[in-house]
């Protein structure tokens, strides 16, 4: 059963860029081990909403609470949110293409030796562990640029990073948009695994069937406002489509 104590509470946050109001009012709650899907038309404000949670943007107004702690605007940055156990997989910006798989897995957390050197052995070892946890058999060239792998393989490393460090919340922004059916199935299996170990998941997806397969709750963003929220069991695809287009 779900732990009803919310791990994340987003209250009436907004964000503008110059004249553009990307997000007018975003509010939602998230519990441990819960999967919430965020859906909405292109440009509705979904990515802006999760980037606030990820610490990329400071909200213009409103605030977010993580594990009963209201996040001070002073601390509202990516480094702090990652420390809190929140990890994101961005659709187009998940990996550094010219770097190795271990580097991408440790992105922003490279282990050090004597303060200034890269601890490559530790990275390699941990990479192998994480890949084993993901049930990956063998990766031959851990020292080659990740761009030499297929799109699905690259995505698996990005998701591996999120799983390895996102102990509290894993955010997936269109994680399967660029993947084939088998790779998509694999990502969905991993989402179930993350959920089972008690980590909350925020999933942005345009694929409503996938949303139904994965989500416990569905949040609709319309013109920058989190306008509707449904339990998966209480809604049909038609109702969702209507909510996406009309709010």
């Amino acid at each position: 059963m779900l732990d009803q104590q919310p791990i994340l509470e987003v209250e009436d946050v907004s964000k503008s860029f110059g004249g553009v109001q990307a997000l007018k009012s975003g509010s939602f709650k998230l519990s441990r081990g819960e999967v919430i899907a965020i859906i909405g038309a292109n440009g509705a404000g979904k990515s802006s909403l999760i980037k606030i949670v990820a610490g990329v943007y400071k909200p213009d107004k409103g605030h977010i609470t993580i594990k009963d702690t209201v996040i001070d605007p002073m601390h509202h940055n990516v480094g702090y949110m990652r420390q809190m156990g929140i990890e994101v997989v961005y659709q187009d910006l998940a990996i550094v293409p010219n770097m190795t798989a271990p580097y991408n897995l440790f992105l922003g957390r490279i282990p050090r030796k004597f303060g200034i050197f890269v601890d490559e052995r530790k990275m390699r070892k941990k990479t192998e562990e994480v890949l084993a946890e993901l049930k990956v058999k063998t990766v031959q060239s851990l020292s080659r640029p990740i761009s030499e792998m297929s799109g699905g393989q690259q995505q698996s490393i990005a998701i591996g990073r999120a799983i390895a460090w996102g102990k509290e919340i894993v955010i997936l922004d269109e994680p399967t948009a660029a993947l084939g059916p088998n790779e998509t199935k694999e990502v969905e299996r991993v989402v179930h695994e993350i959920k089972d170990r008690g980590t909350a998941v925020i999933l942005i997806s345009h694929n409503l069937e996938q949303v139904f397969r994965l989500a416990d709750r569905i949040l609709v963003v319309h013109h920058g406002i989190t306008s509707k929220e449904f339990q998966k069991t209480e809604v049909t695809i038609d109702e969702l489509v209507k909510a996406i287009t009309l709010g």
């Binding site: 990516v78 480094g79 490279i110 393989q153 698996s156 199935k185 694999e186 299996r189």
Partner: protein, 353 residues
């Protein structure tokens, strides 16, 4: 293996899930060919330098392939090499620094002034000057978000002008004995002149090369250089402080220029207003000849050494062969374009600006 089996094998590979697919599949023929092309491309700097040496050996014989000439080349390369190192750091991140020539002239002059004022250790003033110009570049570029090309172009002009003002057009000479003539400014530093000669200058260069190799290949800083050249946005989204790092990169490049200016002072025995003029171009060429793609993300210290050596050898070989300086310049320009043309993987390039 029958065709049927082969088809099945391909099918089973295709149906492998996301994570199973990480297994590296056997190379089919086109891939092998690509791999070979890649290996060839990786070795362009070594092939180029070999060809260049053979060419000039063929043309000039022993006049080129003599101990005396190679000693000369060993003395000529280090200043260019250190400037190329400065550029390697910046170019790896995908930026450029064309102020290194002006910075060299300015820092060398500050080193000479420092020694004039404070004695031997005063040369450190020159190193500080180099770092300071680097930091200034980095701050303007990173904080004010002005492109590195424009920032360092402006700095190229400004720093040279400051040098003219500070020096009032007068050179400072380094001598190995006290000078009685009071019309010229000079510092007595035999050790410095010795440093500029073979073999000391070679030892110093090798030591610096080794240290830079360690920094470039083994440290967090070196790794970050390449990552920044790969995709800056991803680093920012991962919470890495890119702004501060870029300033560090330009400061490190400035430090390299500071070292280069010191070697230049030792080598030429004078700090002049013209020192380093146009050398930014040679340094960029050396980096490119060393196989470093100017869009960033990759690079090699060793190959940069080869690039700088190649450029020096070509200039030297053409001079020995009696080619007039202007024709020598044209030949070097053509060489640069050929080297870059071979080392680029055109399949991966969508847009050229």
């Amino acid at each position: 293996m029958t065709i049927h089996e082969k088809t099945n094998e391909i099918k089973s590979q295709e149906s492998g899930g996301l994570f199973q697919n990480l297994r590296n599949n056997g190379l089919s023929d086109p891939q092998t060919r690509t791999k070979m092309m890649e290996r060839l491309r990786d070795n362009v700097p070594f092939i180029a330098i070999t060809l260049v040496i053979l060419l000039f050996w063929g043309i000039s014989g022993d006049r080129f392939m003599s101990l005396r000439n190679w000693t000369f080349i060993a003395q000529q390369t280090p200043v260019l090499l250190l400037l190329a190192f400065a550029l390697l750091l910046v170019v790896t991140t995908g930026s450029i620094d064309i102020s290194v020539g002006s910075n060299l002239g300015f820092s060398a002059y500050m080193a000479a002034l420092g020694m004039l004022w404070f004695g031997t250790m005063g040369f450190l003033v020159g190193i500080f000057a180099g770092v300071l110009i680097g930091i200034l570049n980095g701050v303007i570029f990173s904080l004010f978000k002005i492109s590195s090309f424009v920032t360092t172009l402006a700095m190229l002009i400004i720093v040279r002008a400051v040098l003219v003002i500070v020096s009032d057009g007068r050179s400072i000479y380094v001598s190995d004995q006290p000078m009685s003539n009071s019309n010229i400014t000079s510092i007595e530093a035999k050790w410095l002149l010795d440093l500029g000669q073979f073999p000391h200058i070679l030892y110093v260069s090798i030591a610096i090369t080794f240290l830079l190799w360690v920094v470039y290949e083994k440290t967090i800083f070196g790794q970050q250089l390449k990552a920044l050249g790969g995709n800056e946005k991803v680093l920012r989204l991962a919470g890495i402080s890119v702004t501060w790092f870029k300033i560090q990169v330009f400061a490190a490049a400035g430090f390299m220029v500071g070292l280069a200016s010191f070697i230049n002072l030792a080598r030429s025995g004078a700090a002049t207003v013209q020192a380093g003029q146009m050398q930014e171009l040679d340094a960029i060429a050396a980096v490119a000849l060393g196989g470093t793609v100017l869009t960033g993300g990759h690079g090699s210290v060793l190959k940069t050494v080869v690039g700088a050596l190649t450029l020096t050898i070509v200039a030297n070989g053409l001079t020995i062969a009696g080619v007039p300086p202007s024709w020598s310049m044209i030949a070097r320009g053509v060489l640069l374009i050929i080297a870059i043309a071979i080392s680029l993987n055109r399949k991966q390039i969508d847009v050229v600006k």
